[in-house]
């Protein structure tokens, strides 16, 4: 049988993932195991409830013990990804003051002062850049290098002729990532991806910009969600034409552009974030 809880230790916090139905039959050993970890250090503790289905009063009692222990050591207990039903349960039991909740792991870390508020920093941008290089290499045989990053004004035209756009949606922030290719670069990238030479744009290959964006987004999302960003799945779209823009709805807020040089020509990655 799968273990009902999993303890992961990080530098400044302890993450406990609960899953399934936590009841008296599977409570044994939980508190001791957590205290065993806490005997060596006194970090904040985060309980991830994403896969938690229900929790019994026995578990609540042990978690209260844990809360009191942490409080006596000036540390905090925080529940993340708690369902509405769980939050309501805490309120009914009158323990919502002790069992505070945050939407995501990242938010809990921000509240604990262990992470910065979301911004277009290297932690956020680099997964997109690394993923861009990896995706183009594996899927199209393109070797690309990132150039010097710069800020861009909202609603400025994109720099390429064909762009894949995907919205970045989380509980507390929105944004977008855009991969914009000049036509000549795009044709070479598509030729590499599909294994046949394309000399002009056509409907058959235009959605390739969306697919590339989708894969880059997917890879970056896995890395960022591992850090608690809570980015949701999204579908890409494609815009094309000279001096095209992406709607201001998608690209509001701070925006950066990273120019890339590659053996198929230059292209641009634009990342926008609106907190």
């Amino acid at each position: 049988m799968d273990k009902i809880f999993e303890i992961q230790t990080f530098e400044n916090y302890l993450l406990i993932k609960l899953k399934g139905s936590c009841d008296f039959s599977n409570l044994k050993g939980f508190y001791d195991e957590v205290m065993n970890v806490l005997q060596y250090s006194r970090p904040h503790v985060i309980i991830d409830c994403e896969n938690l289905e229900s929790i019994s009063k026995d578990w609540v009692r042990d978690l209260l013990r844990l809360h009191l222990f942490l409080k006596s050591n000036d540390k905090k207990l925080r529940f993340v990804q708690a369902s509405a039903a769980l939050k309501s349960n805490f309120k009914t039991l009158g323990i919502d003051d002790a069992f505070k909740t945050s939407g995501t792991l990242k938010e809990a870390l921000i509240d604990f002062g262990l992470a910065a508020r979301r911004s277009l920093d290297t932690e956020f941008i680099n997964p997109f850049l690394d993923s861009t290089m990896n995706v183009l290499k594996v899927q199209a045989g393109v070797d690309a290098q990132a150039g010097k990053i710069y800020l861009k004004k909202p609603n400025e035209p994109l720099l390429g002729d064909v762009s894949g756009v995907i919205g970045i949606v989380s509980e507390n922030f929105t944004g977008a990532v855009v991969i914009s290719f000049p036509e000549a670069t795009f044709l070479k990238v598509m030729s590499g991806m599909l294994g046949e030479e394309y000399l002009e744009l056509n409907q058959d290959i235009l959605d390739g910009a969306g697919e590339i964006t989708n894969i880059i987004f997917g890879q970056a999302k896995v890395i960022l969600n591992g850090k608690g960003y809570g980015i949701k799945t999204a579908l890409p779209s494609v815009v094309h034409g000279k001096d095209h823009t992406v709607s201001s709805h998608d690209l509001m807020g701070q925006s950066v552009v990273v120019p890339f040089e590659s053996n198929s020509g230059k292209f641009f990655v634009e990342i926008c974030l609106s907190v």
Binding site: Q139, G210, N214, I215, N225
Partner: protein, 131 residues
């Protein structure tokens, strides 16, 4: 490896990705490849296929009917429940993989992928069903 005449259904809302998967399959010798642009169209193709579909390779993240929806629909059907099924995804987060395995996927391929990566997954799936 699968018999090259095995009818394969490739499902993806992006035509370029359907082309990529179909090209790899042709390079591997497959001759009977059908494409569908989402899970609903795939279900129609499976239901109306003259020769029963012997392998489904489906994207996960699609509008209308996702690859996971399609997988569950196939697995719930008496006559089609045992069709080998590979999911292709750009977002292999642990909980998603667990969900796919629980729903009866045979293998999943993470985008971006090479011909060798897809071939390796095909061989694993074939071995499983040949056993």
């Amino acid at each position: 490896m699968f018999n090259p005449n095995t009818p394969v259904l490739v499902v993806d809302d992006m035509s370029t990705m359907r082309k990529i998967v179909s090209k790899i399959l042709r390079d591997l010798g497959f001759t009977n490849i059908t494409e569908a642009a989402d899970g609903n169209l795939a279900w129609e193709a499976i239901s109306s296929a003259q020769a029963p579909i012997g392998l489904i390779i489906s994207d996960w993240n699609m509008p209308n009917c996702t690859g996971l929806d399609l997988l569950r629909r196939v697995r719930a059907d008496k006559s089609m429940g045992r069709i080998p099924f590979i999911l292709v995804t750009a977002e292999a987060e642990q909980h998603q993989v667990a969900e796919a395995v629980k729903s009866g996927v045979d293998q999943y391929v993470v985008k971006p992928f090479s011909k060798d990566a897809l071939q390796a997954k095909l061989e694993m799936v074939h071995k499983k069903y040949a056993a």
